[in-house]
Amino acid sequence: MIPMEHYIIISSVMFFAGIYGFLTRKNLLAMLISVELILNSVEINFSVFNRYLYPENMEGMFFSLFGIAVSAAETAVAIAIIINVYRNMHNIDVRHIDVMKH
């Protein structure tokens, strides 16, 4: 059996890669992908902890399923927003999307 630490290392790498991407990428689509990375790393954690620490329960697995569903919905909404932003501003560079401040 693969030791638990391996999964955790993978999920941590994914998580921080996601954070890094979210903070540095300027393209909204790239940022959205980074967010997906973060979410998926969390879901890995849920499944792993459930499987290794509490094998008799299933809550972690269900949480992962819920998370996947939520992230799918969220992605749909986010892409819809991004398309609208593009239609209005002909640009999806996050640095230009500060008009709501005004």
Binding site: F22, L23, M31, V94, I97
Partner: protein, 634 residues
């Protein structure tokens, strides 16, 4: 006993209906609604009095206090709670009858007097509010409920004095009445708090039980500046009563309150509200008598002085309502004096005071209603513009004469009996006060018959249009009250109201009765000699006592002294520094400072709001990291 609650709720309902929907219904219907409600209340009150005095009240020869309703209204802590309820004892039942009877007569009278006035519905709504508050005051189960209704009475009095709100004099008078009585009520409130701090209760029944043992035990041992806490508390409570009952030097508001419509003066500023102070002292009488006898003696002296003082002023007044107002002050002071000379063992003064309250309410209300009829007919308050009205207004003349005889104390009219009892009580307890009261009795007869002769006798004036008769509603109210004036003295009052709830027999002391009647008759004779014909004799005498006459005509300059006192001390040393503090410290430093500080900080930190989402995320991530590390390390 459930009618006691109904009795209170009917005027309240009238007030709510007329106050909310008054502008939607015609003046006539509104007036009739208010009047019908009040008459119903009066009938209920009479029924209640019959039941109390003849069926429910008496057990083993003593009139018990009943509490048919009581509920907790506010609870602050285990022992501090304020209750509302209905407390029936002989004096409060008597007051219920007086208030509702006089009020219903005034309601009927106002149908004619106020016809066509703008705000007729508002007038009736306020009258109902006043009656409700006054009824609430007299049935109060505890001193705090009394305080609440006391203030409500003050408010409705304010509203009614300022009824003609387009007249500056009326507005000034209503403000003056409110401020002066509020100022006095400050004393009342402090007194109530002081008393309840020591006794841990507001309840009248508990305070007065067993010869006020609770107050005597808890508050007479503590002393401050030579007076016991009980004396301080009861003295301060008396200040509130003195404000409402227009005792010197807090009487200044009452003559000005005559700016209100005359029926209002009749109901509020003659018959009911102004006796609230007397009533309060009567309710707390055992406390005064046992815990603060020094204050009670003081009340006697203040009352006697005020009676004399107001009677002197009344002689020199030319405005019929103001003369009657000073007569009211004088008569209420009479009641106060009677309470002051009463003791728990010799309750004559107590009974006499309540008896005088009872009779005075009727004859003084009638006097004011007559004055209203005169003003209605002649169109002026000035007695210089009246004369020989006997010819034009026979019913008003008769009613005025009856009430003049009653207030002067001529048998068999009601004032004779009550005044005689007061004089007897004073004679037995304090000869000095007896002499003062006898002089006041003489002066009372003199100034009342001065008014009578100047208005109804003398030469006929050239009236622009001949004085017209009053409408039937006004005449009915006056006639009904005249009957009350004639019979109210014959009520065997001491059978019902005694200081310890027991019945007494009172006998007229022939010597004192003779002294009182002789004093009254000599006052009448002097008045007749001076004023029956418009000879110059009165003017000559006034000229001889020019100084005194001018001073009395100017009310001994008490108003001016008050204004000087307020302007110099209150405005100069209190109001102005407070205004400065308010403007510079509260407004300048705190209010404006808070605004300015917010603005400055906003300027400093607004650069953080860049609108760059990644910047926010950056702060968020590193903030989280920072907090995580902090928690892990510390």
């Amino acid at each position: 006993m459930s009618i006691s609650l109904l009795l209170l709720l009917v005027p309240l309902l009238c007030f709510v209906v007329l106050g909310l929907a008054g502008h939607k219904i015609s003046a006539r219907i509104a007036g009739l609604t208010g009047t019908a409600g009040m008459c119903l209340s009066a009938i209920l009150a009479c029924g209640l009095a019959c039941r109390y005095f003849f069926v429910d009240g008496k057990s083993e020869g003593v009139y018990r206090s009943l509490t048919p309703y009581s509920f907790e209204w506010l609870r602050f802590s285990g022992s501090l709670h304020i209750d509302l309820g209905i407390f029936l004892h002989p004096v409060s039942v008597m007051m219920l009858v007086v208030i509702t009877l006089v009020s219903s007569m005034v309601h009927i009278y106002s149908l004619g007097y106020m016809r066509g006035e703008k705000g007729f519905q508002r007038y009736y709504a306020f009258l109902s509010l006043f009656t409700f508050s006054m009824l609430g005051l007299v049935v109060a189960t505890n001193i705090f409920q009394m305080y609440i209704f006391w203030e409500l009475v003050g408010v409705s009095s304010y509203l009614l004095i300022g009824f003609y709100y387009t007249r500056p004099a009326a507005i000034a008078a209503s403000k003056k009445a409110f401020i002066v009585t509020r100022f006095a009520d400050l004393g009342f409130l402090v007194g109530v708090l002081l008393l309840s701090f020591h006794t841990k209760t507001f309840d009248f029944a508990e305070l007065t039980a067993h010869n006020a043992a609770l107050v005597v035990d808890s508050a007479t041992n503590v002393s401050f500046m030579g007076l016991s806490a009980a004396s301080w508390a009861m003295g301060l409570i008396f200040v509130g009563g003195a404000g409402k009952s227009a005792m010197f030097p807090l009487h200044v508001w009452l003559p000005d309150a005559m700016e209100g419509p005359t029926p209002v003066s009749s109901l509020i500023h003659a018959a009911t509200m102004v006796v609230a102070g007397v009533y309060m002292i009567a309710v707390l009488f055992p406390v005064y008598s046992f815990a603060a006898p020094d204050v009670l003696a003081f009340i006697g002296y203040v009352g006697a002085f005020t009676a004399l003082f107001a009677a002197l002023i009344a002689i020199a007044q030319t405005d019929v309502k103001r003369a009657l107002a000073f007569s009211t002050i004088s008569q209420i002071a009479y009641m106060m004096t009677a309470l002051g000379v009463a003791t728990q063992t010799d309750g004559t003064g107590y009974t006499a005071s309540m008896f005088h309250l009872f009779t005075h309410a009727f004859f003084k209300a009638l006097l004011f209603l007559c004055a209203g009829a005169l003003i209605h007919a002649v169109g002026s308050n000035d007695i210089g513009k009246m004369g020989n009205l006997r010819k034009y207004m026979p019913l008003t003349h008769l009613a005025f004469l009856i009430s003049c005889l009653a207030i002067a104390g001529i048998p068999p009219f009601s004032g004779f009996f009550s005044k005689d009892e007061i004089l007897t009580a004073a004679f037995n307890n304090n000869r000095l006060l007896f002499v003062v009261l006898l002089i006041v009795a003489l002066l009372t007869a003199f100034y009342m018959f001065r008014l009578y002769y100047r208005i109804f006798a003398g030469n006929s004036r050239n009236y622009e249009h001949p004085p017209h008769k009053s409408p039937p509603t006004m005449r009915f109210a006056m006639a009904a009250l005249a009957i009350f004036v004639c019979v109210s003295g014959l009520v065997p009052f001491s059978q019902f109201i005694g200081v310890d709830g027991t019945s007494h027999e009172t006998h007229i002391n022939p010597a004192i009765a003779a002294a009182g009647v002789v004093a009254a008759l000599s006052g009448i004779v002097v008045a007749a000699l001076l004023y029956r014909n418009s000879s110059g004799r009165a003017a000559q005498i006034a000229a001889r006592f020019n100084r005194l006459h001018t001073m009395a005509a100017n009310k001994f300059y008490i108003d001016e002294i008050w204004i000087f006192f307020t302007k110099t001390f209150v405005f100069g040393f209190v109001a102005r520094p407070l205004a400065w503090f308010d403007k510079t410290v509260i407004d300048g430093v705190i209010i404006n400072g808070a605004g300015r500080a917010t603005e400055k900080i906003a300027h400093l930190i607004k650069g953080l709001q860049s609108g760059q989402i990644q910047f926010y995320a950056f702060i968020f991530v590193f903030g989280t990291l920072f907090i995580t590390i902090w928690i892990l390390l510390v």
